[in-house]
Symmetry: C2
Subunit: 605 residues, 2 copies
Amino acid sequence: MPTPFFSARDLSFHLYEVLQADQLTRFAHFADHDRASFDMVLDAAAQIGENLLRPLLTVMDRDEPQLVDGKIRVHPDMRAIIRRFGDDGWINAPFTYDEGGQQLPATVMNAATFIFGAANYSSSVFPFLTTGAANLLRSFGSKELIDRFTPNMYTGRWQGTMALTEPDAGSSLSDITTSAEPIDEATGVYKIRGQKIYISAGDHDACDNVIHLMLAKIKGGPAGAKGISLFVVPQKRPTDTGELVDNDVLTAGVYHKMGYKGAPIAHLMVGSNDGTVGYLLGQPHQGLRYMFQMMNEARVGVGMNAVSIGTAAYYASLAYARERPQGRPIAEKGPGHDWSAKPQTPIVRHADVKRMLLFQKAVLEGSLGLLLQCSQLADTAHAAEGEEAQRAALLLDLLTPVAKSYPSEMGCLTTSAAVQILGGAGYTTDFPVEQFYREARIHPIHEGTTGIHGLDLLGRKVTMQGGKAVQIWVEAVQKTMTEAAEHDALKPLVDEMGKALGMLDTTTRHLLGLLPTDTEAALADATLYLELFGIVTIGWQWLRQATVAQEALPNAVSDEDRNFYQGKLMTARYFVEYELVKVRSLAKRLQSPDRVTVAMQSEWF
Amino acid sequence: MPTPFFSARDLSFHLYEVLQADQLTRFAHFADHDRASFDMVLDAAAQIGENLLRPLLTVMDRDEPQLVDGKIRVHPDMRAIIRRFGDDGWINAPFTYDEGGQQLPATVMNAATFIFGAANYSSSVFPFLTTGAANLLRSFGSKELIDRFTPNMYTGRWQGTMALTEPDAGSSLSDITTSAEPIDEATGVYKIRGQKIYISAGDHDACDNVIHLMLAKIKGGPAGAKGISLFVVPQKRPTDTGELVDNDVLTAGVYHKMGYKGAPIAHLMVGSNDGTVGYLLGQPHQGLRYMFQMMNEARVGVGMNAVSIGTAAYYASLAYARERPQGRPIAEKGPGHDWSAKPQTPIVRHADVKRMLLFQKAVLEGSLGLLLQCSQLADTAHAAEGEEAQRAALLLDLLTPVAKSYPSEMGCLTTSAAVQILGGAGYTTDFPVEQFYREARIHPIHEGTTGIHGLDLLGRKVTMQGGKAVQIWVEAVQKTMTEAAEHDALKPLVDEMGKALGMLDTTTRHLLGLLPTDTEAALADATLYLELFGIVTIGWQWLRQATVAQEALPNAVSDEDRNFYQGKLMTARYFVEYELVKVRSLAKRLQSPDRVTVAMQSEWF
């Protein structure tokens, strides 16, 4: 039996026992679904993951994409795989029936992408980049643009991308210089010229065309972020007769990178020969707003990718720990025991190895819970009405930087723990954990670095609408604590959670107090504030999971279920003991008056 | 000008301003040296690093060693480089004049290896593996063995290795099964048979022969660790006439690994055709003791390698941060400022980037201080007499697991910070930081995993001689605190250090109290105890450095010196604020009665 790369049991626990995701079907938009149809979707994802994606995990890492004659060559199986995603309806699954979609809840869709990512992250990015680009198109484009571009995107024939970054504008998007000049202002046709870098799936030979959703500045428009517009810029321009003609979007290079090597990341030259036509999406100068409306989704997606890779590494290290004999249990050592004559024990029996496994499990299953809850909030914001929808949207807005960054940062450490469990073997390419370690490192960088998300959380999200989002969140955490406190066994966890929440609250007040008068000092440690907020958020997730497990354990009918719930309860304890405890040090630092990072000068390094 | 990979100014600060390493020449063994001769050695190291090693950094990573016709092929320049190390006297530099060495203090030798490792870690391992193996030979071997093997090792013609690990015996060395049967017991000639894995430089085509210092068990000897002997097992056996004949040591494979790819790591089959002769080193069954007498040295070496790689990454990220414009200073943003019209600022001005730079500087320069001090302790233990030597040896014994593990574990995080500073660029192979990130990951694994060193520290070193080593260490820390407290500016740091030392002390007493009755629980978090001990130890190092800087600053005559000392003082503050503060959370966890990792069961994962 091959090593599993995720747990269907755990996914089902999150979806149905914790989140009660089947309740989403009470909304008219999702009314045709039920738990059985959700499970069919997830089973199908598991099949694709196991049979199509996983077998390419290693080879896509070793034979990375190459630029050959101006075109990026990717693994030859990718064409069939992307078409399969198209034919099976994955690419437009979340969209409406009218659009050929299935009105699939984001909660289920993201659970499926979790499976794909755990099977083979590189291969999973192609189809869902197209979903993201198509979502922008359908949300803000004219009927004509939608009809022209989306059908071939939904089938997987055309790749979609988000083309934002430029050589001098990464974190600072307002500084892009790609320009747009009207050819026909009335119909929104522009001549585009510029350079885009780090464009995921920006060019490859597993599709017939690439449709870039590209940020550019219309000449003569406002400076900075207010002058950014969004354009549809195809690699090849479809004519009225359906032909594809060259649109002067050249691939200047492919980036070779540390990990997720199977995904082609392109450097594009746009309009170098004056021949690039782009189609304005929506209104001029609204590009950044459009893009940011889709950002929550993409950022939750990145968090999910991070959990996927971490989960694959966790199961690889767990399988190894159960099989690898090394040393003896400490309890059997010491004077009086002739331990050297005894057979070696599987390393899963050593407390230090269990600690490294519990660390992974605690971070990953806590994060998975958060990400699926964020997906459910997105579904509720979309399908519910009135205050319910507004509260869900606000809470999602608040949690998005956490849901993106906590799993991304911690995924570097969980994959590192997986490597450590394998020891020397983990450092070799004979096992996949070193690949997961390399792949995990991208997530704190793309879709906004951790530093950017720290500023977003502390500088924007915590204060929006007079702090209403935080208030909604605190109410939700307190509700979880009240429910957990009904179980005596969970009271110690609730106590620690209460203290942690208090420390976060004191820290938040301290920093918000500084914000008006000393903005730089208030925001200097925003990354640490994000870390603190993330730990408390995952603590909350574990309290939810522990409460469900505590209630289910006495009624569990199989050993498998009893073991599962015991594992949840132990992992919740682990999180409180080893991770939640970190809020003490973080809160102390964040409330310290010493502004050493602000005061530091470049020439003193 | 190429990006620097280390700071000669900082190295000189550690050696002469903090450690006063030139005082080593008061010992007879080092009496022929002086500061000028030390500096010549370090200048020579910098030249070799810059001119020979650094140019191969990237190519040795890309074109990794391959097994071709039973022989591992390495970079073709390595042969000349190893010979250069031999011809210039590096390989036997620490040994006596009688042996052709220079009686160079370990303090200076390790400062030189720091430079080599920062230039190109893979290339630097070849010569000093030979030094380590030769040191075992000269320390425990007969004159005949020494004469037969060491001369060609010193010239770099023959490679030396440590051959310990086997497929079923990595951390658990007592379980090795490589066997030795006497051919001629009187002269210590044995027939050897077994398998060795992960043997660094275990075979390659840049030398004429490989001399393995190999652990094996003499048949009929005691079980477990008490039956391990040490043998000299050449790849080719030198005959009395000087010919080299095959010794049946076959290279079964080369490991492909995540990083430091330029160094060949071999899988060896020994005596498969019954033709391997090995020469017993010293007495039978004393192999592990001999090996462990050399371990301190190797482990300090690994810590130094970790600092080397981290330092190269730090300077690469610092250079990038000073050049890369992105965004505006926060102080210039906000309403009322038209900041978008202003040019972008170098990212080194952002507090979050300065935090990531200070993090690297704090960890790396704190660790470098510790490692050079450990080297000085080794020199004192070797060259001093009586109690001075004994105290130095004891303190070195205590600090060795910390000096190996703290830089190794933290080097993974500092190189990660370097990647983060470069953002997307850092994830590509266009910059060297991703390579440093991959290379750094080996150090928590080889020469004893971090888990093993945690057990060594808490289970052995803290309690040895009734806790005398800890007592010596605490006296040293308190002396540093007293000296620092004479400067008002340093008093806040001294206060925090005092609290941290108190928390460590309480934690140590708590765990030692558990040790006799519940050994497993007492040692379960030994890795965290090692982390706690490491943080306090590096805090001590920063207090030493800050005291020197505080005294030097008023007398500094150049801007360069003023900037340097300011940087030291700021970094000491950073360490206390952001790193030393972590002892609070660690001490709380380590004193908690919840034994969740001990209680966890394999089937609950």
